[in-house]
């Protein structure tokens, strides 16, 4: 029995636009799943449909084996943490955390200990008497977490909770939320637009775009075997480089015997440049493909390589990002030491083609080699 089951969720806005298109998802008990995608992709809407704050046009929502899509939020046994914290301003921290328990008529003598337990877990016991207006952003976020934790629900829903925190606090809270999940083991659905958060926190990631699921997988799967061009470009920072290439090689191979795919070392050409050789199935010969290569697999070299004109050097602490153009394509390369490279220089890049991905230029799907 899945902790959360979404079956063919479809949501159309009153104006006519489609927010979510046939999304199905199954989450196991205790799993931490991240919904990630650019703004407007429908991830928050999906989360709100799970919470019951919005209703789907079609589809079913099942929580812990119970069909809930007809039920109001309060009957679904879910707790939600909002991007804006949404703390009750007229109550102190204790009452904020206790609010959900009291609304559900939890016994008076039980409320106190439970609130205290949640507060101590989050390190905010000292703040219980204060009002939200007197707290810092990080403290307010902890109170919001406390309010969710104390309910001991079936499902945690996080709606971009860290977006309003400064970078440092964000990193800290990320670790805390992950630790909290390890400790409490509650099934969690976490929405973010930040793919770094997704990769570091999720046990599984759901990449969304324009209301459609692009790929569902572990962080490693999504990063190393992106299903399509969008996922490849979205996951990973800085984004993957994509170049149109032509697979050279004799097209006059004898037709492969049924079931046997012959591979050969094919040369790749990008515009007028030779990129090197890579082992590809014979069927690829002569085709135009899209090559995806991550910045860290593109390194400046003194030897033969792809020539680019440098436009920008971005030092990022331990290493540098080198932006350059080759023809009409902008490429990003990562180097541990950019040396004396200056904007305007022409340098050569060597691609580690063993780590390259190939995409069909029409379907944009990644080609399995």
């Amino acid at each position: 029995m899945a902790a959360l089951d979404l079956k063919a969720i479809h949501k159309r806005f009153p104006g006519g636009g489609v927010a979510i298109e046939e999304v199905s998802l199954s989450i196991a008990g205790g799993e931490f799943v991240v919904l990630v995608g650019p703004s407007g992709c429908g991830k928050s809407t999906l989360l709100r449909i799970v919470a019951g704050l919005e209703t789907a046009t079609r589809g079913e929502v099942w929580i812990a084996g119970r069909r809930v899509d007809g039920l109001p939020p309060k009957d679904r046994d879910v707790a939600m943490v909002f991007q804006s914290y949404a703390l009750y301003p007229h109550m102190n921290v204790f009452d904020n955390i206790a609010f959900g328990l009291r609304a559900r008529r939890v016994a008076r003598n039980e409320v106190g200990p439970r609130v205290q337990a949640a507060a101590s877990l989050l390190g905010i016991t000292a703040l219980l008497g204060r009002r939200p207006a007197e707290l810092s952003g990080g403290e307010r976020q902890r109170v919001a977490l406390g309010r969710a934790i104390v309910r001991d629900p079936q499902l945690f829903l996080f709606d971009e909770p860290l977006s309003n925190l400064d970078a440092r606090l964000r990193t800290q809270m990320r670790a805390e939320i992950a630790a909290l999940h390890r400790r409490l083991g509650v099934t969690t659905l976490y929405v973010t637009h930040d793919q770094v958060e997704a990769l570091t926190m999720g046990q599984r990631i759901v990449v969304l775009r324009a209301g459609r699921v692009q790929q569902i997988g572990t962080p490693q799967e999504v990063y190393e075997r992106p299903g399509n061009l969008f996922v490849a470009g979205f996951i990973g920072s800085p984004p993957m480089n994509v170049l149109p290439v032509r697979v050279m090689g004799a097209a006059k191979h004898t037709p492969a015997e049924a079931g046997v795919d012959r591979t050969h070392d094919a040369a790749l050409r990008f515009a007028e440049h030779d990129l090197g050789k890579v082992r590809l199935p014979a069927a690829f010969a002569g085709r135009q493909l899209l090559l995806g290569i991550r910045p860290q697999d593109l390194r400046p070299t003194d030897e033969h390589g792809l020539a680019i004109t440098v436009t920008l050097i971005e030092p990022t602490g331990g290493e540098s990002l080198i932006y350059g153009v080759c023809g009409e394509v902008t490429l990003i390369a990562r180097a541990t030491d950019s040396g004396d490279i200056q904007p305007g220089d022409v340098i050569r890049l060597q691609a580690d083609l063993t780590r390259a991905h190939f995409f069909d230029p029409i379907t944009e799907r990644r080609l399995e080699l």
Binding site: A51, S84, A86, Y88, P89, E134, L135, N164
Partner: protein, 290 residues
Amino acid sequence: MSGRQDLSSRQDHRRAEQVDLGRWATGLLIALAVLVSLGPFLWILVTSLKSPAQIGARPPAWLPELDLSFYRAVFGQHDFGRYALNSAIVATATTLVAVLFGALAAYPLARLRMPGRRWLLGLVLGASMFPQIAIVGGVYRLLMRAGLLNTYPGLVLPYTALTLPLAIWILASFFREIPRDLEDAARVDGCGPATTLFKVFLPVAAPAVATAAILVFVYAWNEFFFALLIMTDPARQTLPVGVAQFPGEHEVPWGDLAAAAVVATLPLVALVLILQRRIVSGLTAGAIKG
């Protein structure tokens, strides 16, 4: 060098003078406005504290002798206490009913996405613009048929009807400003719509509730027209009507009237002072980020 310094200091001086002049002018304007607004009341206050001899004095006496004889007359000779009690009951009841139903109406009007919502709100406000004289005949007959003449509900009902639009408008405007996330949080935490309204919306909207309450109370307390027509039994008459009956056939007891006016206004002043702080909307600070 020094020439330029002279010039700039002269400019600064002139600018400072202009600023002072501006501030003086503003201050004068404000003083004038206050005088015009409070003037009549101050005069009544002064009059109420005069000795009977000072009342008709020509030229008018500006400083009262701090004589309380008129106050004693008000409570002794007239049935002031009775009038005050009736006013208190009617005004309080009206305020409670108007604010309660106003909130119940304002919540969906502010929150639910329903077609024609703006028209509905406009209609509600339009209802308050009816000249009272146009409806008083119909209202009287309705109350007569219902046997509500000379009863408290007989006043509370029309007053509520007349103040409800204003209460709804004030509360709906404020409710609309409350972030949706707060409502969502309450829903997920376990509140139905009613609980959300009473436990979350109304407390957060306290400034608006206070404002609406004050306006409704003041209206109900001061209302004369309907009270005059509906309450003919002296035992049930409200302050405005009761005080209006002070003047006899031959003489007008200015002193008594002045004292009565002051006493009648005191509760309103007290109410505003008490609720005044709530009208400052610092309450939503901190609930939502930033």
